[in-house]
Symmetry: C2
Subunit: 416 residues, 2 copies
Amino acid sequence: MSATVHELGKRAKAAAYSLALLPTNKKNSALAAIADALEANTAAVLAANEADLDAARERGTSPAMLDRLKLDEKRVKDIAQAVRHIITLDDPVGRILEGRTIENGLIIQKVTVPLGVAGIIYEARPNVTVDAATLCLKSGNCCILRGGKEAINSNKVLMQTMRTALEQQGLDPDIMNLVEDTSRESSAAMMKMNEYLDVLIPRGGAGLIRSVVQNATVPVIETGTGNCHVFVDASADLEMAVRIITNAKAQRPSVCNAAENLLVHTAVANEFLPMAKKALDEHSVELRGDEQTVEILGSDVKAAEEADYATEFLDYVLAVKVVESIDEAIAHINRYGTGHSESIVTSDYANSQKFLHQVDAAAVYVNASTRFTDGGEFGLGAEIGISTQKLHARGPMGLQELTTHKYMIYGSGQIR
Amino acid sequence: MSATVHELGKRAKAAAYSLALLPTNKKNSALAAIADALEANTAAVLAANEADLDAARERGTSPAMLDRLKLDEKRVKDIAQAVRHIITLDDPVGRILEGRTIENGLIIQKVTVPLGVAGIIYEARPNVTVDAATLCLKSGNCCILRGGKEAINSNKVLMQTMRTALEQQGLDPDIMNLVEDTSRESSAAMMKMNEYLDVLIPRGGAGLIRSVVQNATVPVIETGTGNCHVFVDASADLEMAVRIITNAKAQRPSVCNAAENLLVHTAVANEFLPMAKKALDEHSVELRGDEQTVEILGSDVKAAEEADYATEFLDYVLAVKVVESIDEAIAHINRYGTGHSESIVTSDYANSQKFLHQVDAAAVYVNASTRFTDGGEFGLGAEIGISTQKLHARGPMGLQELTTHKYMIYGSGQIR
């Protein structure tokens, strides 16, 4: 019988105290062992994955979803290589962030330490299981992973492979845990498990994230909902603007940093919108426009409803709106955006500064595609998610964001 | 009629966008005007405070509580001086934390920005009203303050004084807001007001903080619950240990960094406990001990119940326990502590390191009193609270912890 979520919590918390003290070389040896074990176990992983795929096909799952779920020899190798890449990253634990000696001689140091136990609730991608567990390991955190039922067979084999590798390295396998019960009850239990969980990170669609934010008493880091905008200012280089919106929308529409909305200054709408439509048509992007957009582009452009401006399509669909001013654009973004990534195309200095400072989002761009919001592009080396909240982490979260700090104070009898 | 909490939220959110852009010199002028106005308005403040005190006396409030509530000319002057001190502190907004130019020429900067709107729920101290509002102002945050009903008359006059000063400086008075409805409903509404509040900071007793953590969907920073321990190791300088526990317990027992528990290694318990009792007796500290403590100190020491080890007394009461080893001490602290401040008295190098690394708390001390955990002592200049959680802020929170960051990215047409 599989362990209850609370039992996993208790075991993970117990394992966390020793993991927090594990030196970098030991953590790196464990990561290397995990990568090797994953490759060595490819056949078993693929067999389990085939069972997941069979069940998914029986349920009539879409080809896009099947592709997310699917592993093959190359993908397992890629997963192992990603683990080996984590070995090369700096250990985020034990950095002395600052320190001082105060008047009475007390030495105060602010030192990074692991958060403790991280809970991660995610959906159908089995690669997240290895990715999240190994990023947690490198940052000294135990983890409790609760993936979707679609990938449960794959996840079980991946987790067992990692736990066995930890044991063979003389480490406590309870450093990494998989919740095998994929009912709603198991995720609901995790959301209230303040005793054992130090942080809860939902990775997935907007519905999952909303549910966690509304119901969790454990501190949450919201990730990944991206209703991103590109605003084409009156002074924009229009050809650059076409390249940017086409890239932001169509290069990979299923990801959170893809653009979902195009705002166009009224002064250039007549000239720009037909140029943009032509480029977006090549990618079969469906436009949904406000009245003025429809007037300019003609009736084969669908009329947008208000809900379209609040929707993360994650598809070849783009909401379009003509605005009277940069102020209207900023107000629209701050109202409908999710605080992820926003871009202005402009050649006006004052407007670039205004947009950078007044738009309330994790990443604000001048003259570039929103698609750059990414741990790899930002130089973090790896990414556990992109935070759209303001506390603790905002924007791409790397290993450092999986740590907190502690003050270590060296005295010689000081009293107040 | 007073505005509803939602109306205040809406107004504060609207004011936040312009406040975020206000340069330091404007914020400092406003702070100076507020300090002057508070002093000029002393008579009105004291009259309102007298009404609060009358009502409190009628309810039979304790002298200690009356003292927390009471203002006089000197205290108003101290409050104004504290505001002037904030002027001298560095502006935490607009610091470029890091930055890089990536291969394709994109310039990525990580810049500190205000959180937006901070909600603060607190109890009877009217000085918190000014203190919280002005720390928020300096860090570019609007605030919605919800103080206790005991201080409502004082709070109204203090808030009106500050808002008028803001207006006279040409600023939006909705930067600072007081919830005049002190019912449970108003704090419950704040806890769910994700649309308008970026962070919620409860300042007060354990009950208030627990209620906020359990019920809030707005991100919370927990502050101030301190069940702090002093552990006297086998190798301790026992006279130093007496000075430290006496200071940590009795110098100011009502504050969160005061010690509530004394753990003593069994090897020195016979010698140390009578020394400690003698010193603590001078401050009339009541001891509640485990079996072995009672055996050593005699039957005038009360037997501790398990609940005593989990209690923040905030009074001249100390729970005492004899432990077999440093490991037992650490396990006890990690079980019963609140993650605030913990101290070991030892002359053993390995034990000092073990305690520093294995105790899970915001501040861990070797050979010093827990009483040093304080924004002033840690060099932050001012303090909005002491965080006992791990996300975003841990330990004393100064102005910097009232900010988040944003990535500002300068491009020239880059796409992926």
